[in-house]
Amino acid sequence: MTRSSWTGALLALPLLVFLVAAVAWPLVSLARHALSVPGWGAVRQVLEAGRYRTALVNSLGLSASAAVCSVLLAMGPAWILARERFPGRDALRTAISLPLTFSGVLVGFLMVVLLGRIGVIPEVLGALTGRRIFAGAAYTVAGLFLAYLYFELPRAVMTLESAFRRFPRELDAAARTLGAGPLQRLLKVGLPLAAPALRSALAVTFSAAMGSFGVALILSRRFTVAPLEIYKEMTGTLNDEVAGALALMLAFSTLAVDRLLSMGKR
């Protein structure tokens, strides 16, 4: 190594020490602990036992669908914010990015205010139609999904917007001069170029949803998700190995999807 790379290594040493001691070591020891039960016992238990497997499957399903829906819904607004100029654009962008500052429990709380048992929407609908519909909808799967969409949409819009802003403007013009109609331009130029942005938006929203804990803590009733089960296990300290295995599998699946989606970048 040259002198300059020694300087670099020295400057990055604290980061290395931190990552090893505070991230890698705990996760590795979590894995060791979870796999210490002979024959992958803890992992098997997660995959077999109803509650844990349901929680993991629920987390994966809810996160994947919320990620896909939010990215699909975000594409149009992100493109408009990135490429069009119109009065009020900055205000719209600010409004859309505001929920980025909400922690999960706050999102859950907003959902309860709107769609709880005495939520604003059922009350208003009750006054209008005489029947209180959607009361307590916040605590159903649909309510949870809505809450997930609520915190995912700003993330999706903002991630896509910054990617769309870097799109070279002339490429669309170039495609037109070469005779490509709107559909051909979308399929042959727009989407291939947007693919990395879409993938990173999916990665951001998916890992946010997988890690989301506060929303489920407030809203989840019968439908449970993995972070919630881990929390219950921790506070109950009933079955440390199984909770560890669940945490490990949650972390592993999130990381795996994130790596998969960001493959081929940089």
Binding site: L16, L73, T159
Partner: protein, 255 residues
Amino acid sequence: MSTVIVRRAGIAATAVLALALLTPVVVTAAGAFSGADAESVPDLILHVTGLWGGALLRSVEIVATVVPLALAIGAPAAWAFRRRPFPGSRLLESAALVPLAVPGVALAFSLIQVAGSAPRFALLVVGHLAYTLPMVVKTVTNAVETFDLRLEPAARSLGATGWETAVRVTVPLLMPALVLSSLLVFAVSWGEFNVSFLLATPLVQTFPAALYVTYTTNSFPVAAAATLIFLAPVVPALFAIQALGGEEFHRGLPA
């Protein structure tokens, strides 16, 4: 003609989305503070501050510890990744971003498992650093990439020592990125719930964790006032981050 219609429809859709995201906030705020029998907002806020003073103070302490630590650990490393690369620096750089994809609950769980006897305050700081360091590393590497590669050699050619170059050239050039990083670290550390809640004890509790307790036990106006106190520093931080062109906040607070 058709492009005009598409454009208008797009703008309308964007406005609808903004409205949909804003409505719950507006409704909650209105509901909390418009009731005839409601206490005045300042009174409520005083009440909440009295109720959760300890947690507020703890959050301030944690933020005050995490911000300088994150900068001290992250910024030099980020500079080194671009200016003094060493074998394995690419790997370390991508490893620094990994925690962003690790669920907070899982990390908190493993931290308790390996260091459950450590002071909780220290564990909280470690947990917050794991989620804020990636932002510092990304923001500073981006900034280092944009400034002229030859400025530092130019300073050296004018006789400045390595230390003088750092103090008089590198740090001033990186100042906007450092300010931006501080704001990002501040916002995330202030709002982090997942790690904080799991690592919290009755004595060491952060304000977002207290917020949860309020939501489940206190009356609606008190909960709304607590929310307001929670948002008071984060929302201006978000505006400042956007004004400085920060993109690392696109992940938002851990949900």
